[in-house]
């Protein structure tokens, strides 16, 4: 058994290595050039959005809060910039937590400023309502009944962005970007009731859980974590935060693989010595 002080020292050394593996590539970022990666499941989401005609209404469910902001914001920004460029009408909503609404306001305003879009005309942000599946079931019945007012307290019935829309069935596409089980809720309730094509973005922790839904066609595509965000940035030709962050990410992954290998060498050497 490792003694207590030794345990702490090894741990602090590993923490320091992780910190260095992040700080150094961030500082010398401009000198590092990495090739792009691509995957079918991410490309499918891009293709789906590309195929939608201008003016099509879509729903973007932002189901994460600040705890996953660093991981999911780059993905959300990339998707939003793409849908804004395609001139789609976007309904932003959340079933996750009150904090998701605050975050959504921030992300939408930033993306709208970049793509020169107007609140109420090109997009609308709905406030958080508790209830999860109840909110989605209600949307499948009547959007205006679920959200009489938007995030800015304006009556939703008067918003031009929502003209001609009444329920989830009128949506041409829906996407849930989630840090928890919101994608499951969207598949079971949203997809079943609304029948619209559904895409998912999630933290990398959750990504493996949704592969069965890809094969069954219940999900159009899947974006897992920062890697998928970087791929999407290269697809829309707007390399940004995610692409930059893949540099330290690559170094840290290498460090962790080295740590696993060293750990195993130490383990097997000790075992051989008895």
């Amino acid at each position: 058994m490792t003694s207590e002080p030794k345990f702490h020292i090894i741990r602090w050394v590993i923490f320091a290595l992780v910190a260095l593996a992040i700080i150094i590539p961030v500082i010398v970022s401009e000198k590092i050039k990495l090739p792009d990666t691509s995957s079918r499941v991410v490309k499918n989401i891009y293709d789906k959005i590309e195929s939608l005609p201008a003016g099509s209404p879509i729903i973007l469910s932002i189901d994460f809060d600040p705890s996953s902001d660093e991981e999911l914001r780059p993905m959300t920004m990339a998707i939003l910039r793409h849908v804004f460029r395609k001139k789609l009408r976007v309904i932003g909503m959340t079933i996750w937590s009150p904090q998701s609404s605050g975050l959504m306001g921030d992300i939408f305003t930033t993306a709208a400023k970049m793509e020169n879009k107007q609140d109420g005309l090109d997009y609308v942000i709905m406030p958080f309502k508790p209830g999860g599946s109840s909110v989605i079931l209600n949307l499948s019945q009547d959007i205006f009944f679920t959200y009489p007012k938007d995030y800015k307290d304006k009556s939703t019935k008067e918003l031009p962005v929502l003209k001609g829309i009444r329920t989830l069935k009128d949506m041409k596409y829906a996407m849930c970007i989630s840090a928890g089980n919101a994608v499951d809720v969207w598949i079971v309730y949203g997809k079943e009731k609304g029948k619209m094509p559904l895409g998912a973005g999630c933290t990398a922790v959750m990504a493996t859980d949704y592969y069965p839904y890809l094969q069954s066609g219940q999900l159009v595509g899947l974006m897992g974590g920062i890697g998928a965000a970087a791929q999407y940035e290269s697809l829309i030709g707007e390399k940004g935060i995610a692409t930059e962050r893949m540099k330290p990410q690559t170094v840290v992954h290498s460090l962790i693989i080295i740590l696993i290998v060293v750990g195993n060498i130490v383990y097997f050497t000790r075992r051989r010595k008895g």
Binding site: E71, P130, T208, R245, P248, Q249
Partner: protein, 259 residues
């Protein structure tokens, strides 16, 4: 490079850097500076949730429409669309159920909250059953039983379809405890474990990416905030917070000695 940074932005940055570094002191060990940040976080979030519940649900969806409906019904005030308002009288039901829910904290009347719980659990259960059967059972069975051979099916797809079918059965048998895991059943169950190990390994690989991306996000910001534009916020606050941690350590060790 940011074009012009206002004084307000400088204050905001220093606040964010301070909070970030306070939390990172946990890497040394659990200490009062970390705890301070933790409790501020809990307090601010709880307050935020209260405001949210009020501004987005309780006021606009319950109290205001109910107030309108009641005043119209009793001819206290005339509104433009009385019909729409009458409908809102139904909101008395969730109001009552909500109030009953609040009796949970009374030792004498907490049984009243059971009505609300029963209402919620019963409705949600009823609504979910048909949808779960359709989404997670029927629609998941179809691709598992994909055709093995056909005009557009490659040999690679055939192998994968077989592997998925075998995997699903093996994992299900592993979780099927009504039969003793001996002989052939044990072998199939062990195959199920292999499938699960590969899946869990993949999940771990992804988890590493997720967790590290969170650290990278924070550290990238700290590096940005260490620049002269933000008056070296990260560097100065780093020294201050390390100093505070050292001071609290000294105090606590002196406290222990005097005890």
């Amino acid at each position: 490079m940011p074009e012009s940074i206002t004084t307000m932005q400088i204050i905001e940055t220093w606040l964010a850097v301070g909070f970030t570094l306070m939390i990172y002191t946990f890497l040394y060990k659990d200490n009062p500076i970390f705890k301070l940040g933790e409790y501020i976080y809990v307090g601010l979030t709880a307050g935020y949730a209260v405001c949210y519940a009020w501004f987005t649900v309780i006021w606009p969806d319950l109290i205001y429409p109910l107030y309108r409906a009641l005043t119209v019904s009793f001819h206290i005030k005339q509104w433009e669309k009385p019909l729409e308002s009458h409908e809102n009288l139904w909101l008395i039901i969730p109001l009552v159920l909500g109030i009953l829910m609040l009796t949970r904290f009374s030792s004498k009347f907490n049984w009243l909250s059971r009505y609300t719980l029963a209402f919620i659990m019963g409705s949600v259960s009823g609504m979910s059953i048909p949808l779960v059967v359709s989404a997670n059972i029927f629609k998941q069975m179809v691709p598992t039983l994909n055709p093995f051979w056909g005009p557009e099916v490659t040999i690679f797809q055939t192998i994968n379809t077989c592997l998925i079918l075998v995997g699903v059965i093996a994992v299900l048998i592993y979780f099927f405890f009504s039969v003793e895991h001996k002989g052939a059943v044990n072998k199939v169950a062990r195959l199920g474990i292999f499938y699960m190990m590969v899946s869990f390994g993949a999940a771990f690989g992804y988890t590493v990416m997720a967790r590290e991306s969170l650290v990278i996000g924070r550290v990238t910001k700290l590096i940005k905030w260490a620049s002269p534009d933000y008056y070296y916020a990260t560097i100065i606050l780093l020294f201050i917070i390390i100093g505070l941690v050292v001071l609290t350590e000294l105090f606590s060790s002196r406290g222990e000695r005097t005890e």
